[in-house]
Structure formats: structure tokens, C-alpha cells
């Protein structure tokens, strides 16, 4: 519970998100229940980028989906903006490991999909989508179909889609996990640039230590399944972050700390 007390000890204003003793078990017919998440408690401060770092299969994606309201928790408190999360919310934006673009829609039409679901259309909505596409360098591909785009470009379009309705909370599930190393680093910088222009609080699931440290204000390290908070620390490096920082002693120290929490460095 060290993590929880650390979260509470900040005498800052009311946090944007509060998670207390979140627990999740999966009931399997004819087999004992699987405890995916044992006990997760921490605070999500407003406007910050928080990474959930942990080994594969540790329950961090499950936790993200619980926060997003896609699946229910088995116990605990999950509050966003002061209200209990029970279902997806209009103010949430989600980006998944796969771009999940609809192959029958053009890039622009894919980005506009959330607005269509909310029955919002018109010039201003369209302009916002185009601005986002411009920001990620896809202006020329507005009218292209997803199959004509590379994996990195598809993921950029998916990022625009997650942001088009100006969400207060952006949830990302290993959004760059399927990309090659160089594209991944490019996307990380792009995400930071987008974040400098939008105030959305962001929660990002990753299993890359370097990615978590490079992107985040706060890193929450998950233990192996069943998940508990193994460590919770603030990165403290100033934004904008630069590639040079990746090789600074502070950065390396933080990577070590995360590595120790994960149990890969003793």
C-alpha cells in the first residue's frame, strides 16, 4: 500500500482519477478463478501522462479496460472526474494496440467516426479532424484507404481518431507495440507533441521501460499476475523531452528503478 499512501500524501487538489483496491478475477467454467488484478491503488493527477508498466499478461491492459469502462472490475473503486466508472464515457478516447481502422472508410472518415457516433458533423468538426491529420503528417492521405497506409501511418490515424472528440482522458493500450523501433521512437515524439497541445490526461500501457520513462510524468509499475503496484514514481524530467535525455544519468537511474521494480535487475 506504499503506492496508495504516496498518492494520497500529495496535498494537491482533488486528483482527476482515483483507483482504490481495484481487483479483477476471471471466472472460468470448470476451472478455478484466475485473479488478474490483486489490488491496485493510485491516483491519476489531472493533465498528466501516466504509464502502466509491467510484464506481458500482468493485467495492465485489463486495468486500462476497467478504467475505460469496457469491462467491470470485481471490486474496488474506480473514479474519473469524481464519478464512478461503470461504462464507457463520451469524454474518454481510446487507442488500441492494433489501429482498428475500418478498411471501408477513408482515413478522414475513420477519424470522423467518433463524431458520427455522436451525431456531430459540419465544417468545424471536419476542420478539427483535418488539423489533427495535419499534425501527424497525414494530410495527403486524407482520402486514402487504410490498406494503402503503412502500420505507423495507420496508428497515427488511429491516434487522431482517439483525439477528435477532444477527450478529457486518453487511454492507450500499447499503441506503438506493433511498430518497429524507429517508427516507435517517432511516434513517441509525436505523442508528446500532440500532448503539449491538448490537456487530456493520458494513461498508457506499455511493457517497454524506456518508453514509459521517456513519455511519462508518472510511471506505475505493475507486478506479475496477480497485479499489485510494485512501484510508483514521478519521472521529473522536463518537457519537451529530447532524444539526448535518453542517455542522461537521470534517465538511466529511472530505468534502473523500474527494472528493479519489475524484478529484472537485482
Amino acid at each position: 500500500m506504499a503506492a496508495a499512501s504516496r498518492g494520497q500524501s500529495q496535498s494537491a487538489p482533488e486528483p482527476f482519477g482515483t483507483f482504490r483496491h481495484v481487483r479483477k478475477l476471471f471466472e472460468l467454467p470448470g476451472r478455478p478463478d484466475v485473479v488478474a488484478i490483486e489490488d491496485i491503488s493510485f491516483d491519476l493527477p489531472d493533465g498528466k501522462l501516466v504509464s502502466l508498466l509491467g510484464p506481458s499478461g500482468c493485467g495492465k491492459t485489463t486495468f486500462l479496460k476497467i478504467v475505460g469502462g469496457l469491462i467491470p472490475a470485481s471490486g474496488g473503486i474506480i473514479q474519473i472526474g469524481g464519478t464512478e466508472v461503470r461504462e464507457p464515457h463520451e469524454d474518454f478516447g481510446m487507442a488500441f494496440q492494433q489501429p482498428n481502422l475500418m478498411p471501408w472508410r477513408t482515413v478522414l472518415s475513420n477519424v470522423l467516426f467518433p463524431m458520427e457516433i455522436r451525431r456531430e458533423s459540419g465544417q468545424s468538426v471536419r476542420r478539427r479532424a483535418q488539423e489533427l491529420l495535419n499534425l501527424v503528417g497525414l494530410t495527403e492521405f486524407e482520402n486514402a484507404y487504410p490498406s494503402q497506409l503503412s502500420g505507423g501511418m495507420q496508428q497515427r490515424a488511429a491516434l487522431c481518431r482517439a483525439l477528435v472528440h477532444e477527450p478529457k482522458l486518453l487511454l492507450m493500450d500499447e499503441p506503438f507495440g506493433a511498430l518497429d523501433e524507429l517508427t516507435r521512437m517517432e511516434m513517441q515524439d509525436l505523442l508528446l507533441e500532440i500532448r503539449s497541445r491538448t490537456e487530456a490526461t493520458t494513461m498508457l500501457v506499455t511493457h517497454s521501460i524506456a518508453e514509459a520513462v521517456y513519455l511519462s510524468d508518472i510511471v506505475v509499475v505493475f507486478s506479475k499476475r496477480p497485479a499489485v503496484v510494485a512501484d510508483f514514481f514521478e519521472v521529473g524530467l522536463p518537457y519537451p523531452r529530447t532524444t539526448a535525455m535518453r542517455y542522461s544519468p537521470e534517465f538511466t537511474a529511472l530505468e534502473h528503478r523500474a527494472g528493479r521494480a519489475l524484478g529484472i535487475i537485482r
Partner: protein
């Protein structure tokens, strides 16, 4: 690129080769025209009797198209019901399978009793054979919606109606078309079965009557026209597919 441009040549060469062997065999063996007319005979008859053949093509084409259209109109909503309702799936699917295993040729005489010698009975048989692949493929497609897209729709709080029309149905369209391409060729077969069992017009009817008059070149010509009809209708559905869901073909290449 070069390879693709000349790809169509392979089947053409194969086809020409078979025709040449056939022609040579008929010329060499002096076999009776009644048993096996030569390709040249068939082509000659196809051209000289083209007015008759064309006249008899229309009824068969209409029977096939109407039967196919009815199968689409009834089959797709039924597939939607099956894919979205567990109860309907459990109750209708076994009946569908049972219906499919009944030989349609055997049902044709009964249908003739119900609907008479006209267009309706052929339409009904064409419908019966075309129905199954459309229902099965559409239902499969509706159930195969990528999980990620459904999750996306749910995260955006899309209504059931929006999820169906904006995600599930478009995602199923490639499956619908693959069912429709099978169905259209089956519909032509269904129409011909109907004509065989009892009719006063159509290419199937012409084939039977030419055969009974030992006019083999005309019977074979009717067969060729039937094949062409099948190919043209198939191509029409394939063209519709390319126009309506261009994204599906670009991603498969």
C-alpha cells in the same frame, strides 16, 4: 507486372488447345454429329440460330435473376436475424441445414405442381438453390466482425443500431459477396432444373427439345449459351462487388 499482363493468356491457350484436339478428333474419327458435334458445328449453329437462342435466353436469364434477387432479399435479413439472436440461430439453423440437404431436383416436380409451368416455378427453384450460400456466408460474415472494431464501437458508446449499420454490416460485405457469387451461378442451374422438369420456353427447354430431335449441334449451342449466361451473370455480381466494396479487393491483392 509483366507477369500479370499476360496471365489471361494461359487459360486462353489451354482452351484453344482443347478445342483443337476436339475438332481434330471429330474430323479424324468421322464420328456422327448426333453423338459429338465438332466445335466448328457448334459455333456455326450458335451464330446461324442466334435469334432463336437469344429469344430463349431471356426467360432463363429472368428466372435466374429474379430467383437470385429474392434469395438476396430474404436471405440477408434472415442471416441478420440468425447472427444476432441466439434463439433464432438455434431454431433456424438446423432447419436450414436440413433444407439444404434435400436434393432440389427432387423438389422441382412438387414446385411445378404448386406454381405451374410459367416463370414462377423456375424462379422458386432458382431461389431455393441460391438462398443457402447467401444466408450462410452473410451470417458467417456478421459473426466475424473484428473484435477490435466492436470494442471501438463500445468505447464510443455506439448504439446497437449504429454498431450494426456502421461496423458489423459493412465488415460482413465481403462475405455477402462471396456468397452472392456462388448463389448467382447456382440460380442459373436452378432455373435450368426447373425448365427440364416442365416448361414451354428457356434455354433448358430448348436444349431438351433439340436433344429429343437429335439436333445435337443446337443442343450443344444451347449449352454454350447457358454457360455464357452463367459467366455474364457472375461477372455482373463481381463487377458490383468491385464498385460497392472497392476496399475489399484492394486489400486482398
Amino acid at each position: 507486372m509483366r507477369r500479370r499482363t499476360y496471365q489471361w493468356l494461359y487459360p486462353v491457350v489451354g482452351f484453344v488447345f482443347i478445342l483443337a484436339v476436339w475438332q481434330a478428333y471429330v474430323d479424324w474419327s468421322q464420328i456422327s454429329k448426333i453423338v459429338l458435334p465438332s466445335p466448328a458445328d457448334i459455333v456455326r449453329t450458335s451464330i446461324s440460330r442466334y435469334d432463336l437462342l437469344l429469344r430463349e435466353t431471356w426467360p432463363t436469364a429472368l428466372e435466374s435473376i429474379y430467383g437470385f434477387a429474392l434469395a438476396v432479399l430474404i436471405g440477408i435479413p434472415m442471416a441478420v436475424a440468425i447472427a444476432n439472436s441466439r434463439v433464432l440461430n438455434l431454431s433456424l439453423y438446423p432447419i436450414l441445414i436440413a433444407m439444404q440437404s434435400v436434393p432440389k431436383v427432387a423438389v422441382a416436380p412438387i414446385i411445378l405442381v404448386w406454381f405451374g409451368l410459367g416463370l414462377q416455378s423456375k424462379l422458386a427453384i432458382a431461389f431455393l438453390v441460391a438462398f443457402f450460400p447467401i444466408v450462410v456466408d452473410t451470417a458467417t460474415g456478421l459473426r466475424a466482425t473484428p473484435q477490435g472494431l466492436l470494442e471501438l464501437a463500445r468505447s464510443l458508446k455506439a448504439s446497437a443500431w449504429q454498431t450494426f449499420w456502421k461496423v458489423q454490416f459493412p465488415a460482413a460485405l465481403p462475405f455477402v459477396f462471396s456468397g452472392a457469387k456462388v448463389a448467382i451461378t447456382l440460380a442459373v442451374i436452378g432455373a435450368v432444373i426447373g425448365e427440364f422438369v416442365g416448361s414451354v420456353q428457356g434455354l433448358g427447354n430448348l436444349l431438351l427439345s433439340a436433344n429429343s430431335q437429335l439436333n445435337s449441334p443446337l443442343a450443344w449451342a444451347a449449352l454454350v449459351w447457358l454457360s455464357v449466361l452463367g459467366i455474364v451473370l457472375f461477372a455482373a455480381v463481381a463487377l458490383l462487388e468491385r464498385l460497392l466494396i472497392p476496399w475489399a479487393s484492394t486489400s486482398s491483392h
